[in-house]
Amino acid sequence: MDSAISERTPLTSTADNGLKIVIVGGFGVGKTTLVRSVSEIRPLNTEETMTRAGEAVDDVAQVHTKTSTTVAFDFGRITLDAHNVLYLFGAPGQERFWFLWDRLFAGTLGAVVLVDTRRLADSWYAIDRLEHHGMPFIVACNDFGGPAHTEQEIREALDLADHVPLVECDARDRSSSKYVLITLVTHLQRLHALRETRT
């Protein structure tokens, strides 16, 4: 354990505000690649387990079954200034993950849905759940060199609202991944401005 600790890059002692952005996407879409390209640390992996009572009850034995949900996720880190540290989480979009969303990702600034344009249907569920949670998000298409789609084609395939930003990116490229994050934050600022004008 000590060798692992010694490899760590510690934060400055003034760091006092941790922030979260979640990158959601299907298997192999490049979530960890994106995290790695902007992170100041090698992406780390951890997991959370939640045991919940199952719905099935055996009337004869009165045994309540329990199901255990385990979700693994990768994360990286960006020190923004002397106080703020941004953590980027690469999270799977599959069903069981959303049971843990509130427990793990309450207080998240916003989300990036990373999509592979060859497998757009993989993103439907994640987009649906983010809308359900009222979590602002943008969509970033990771360029795998597949056939080019127009923005309109992608928006229609994802049933994406006009106000949700859609950008292309190369998750391997630091400046491209940085641009994705900046697009999300400026989207959040725009939502704020809209809310201010409404009230």
């Binding site: 600790i5 760590r8 006092d16 505000n17 922030l19 923004l80």
Partner: protein, 125 residues
Amino acid sequence: MSPASHRDESPDRLYTLTGGRTRSAPDAPFDLVTLVVAESDPAPGMQSEHAAILRLCRRPTAVVEVAAELALPVGIVRILLADLLGTGRISARHPRTSGPADPSGSYSLPDPDILEQVLVGLRNL
């Protein structure tokens, strides 16, 4: 002890680490990104996981980093941290992201000042 040493252990073994508790106290809400700072050095006879946390957190360290470094589920780490907080061996710097907490638990937009700081930080990368 390797960092991955807890990965393959049975849940039973994990729960002995926490004395059988599966939830941390509700008054100690450790977020994934709450930054933990050790306020004391490990003491002889201390549970090894508690000692490891104190060594890790000599500089501010997020809950999720503690979990990854110790190769323990986040929920277990929250319980261990609540023990250390309760005895004053660590302090916790909780995230300040938004205005007043929404009692319904639904999303509230982040504080605009924080958003501006994030944007400046990202542009300076």
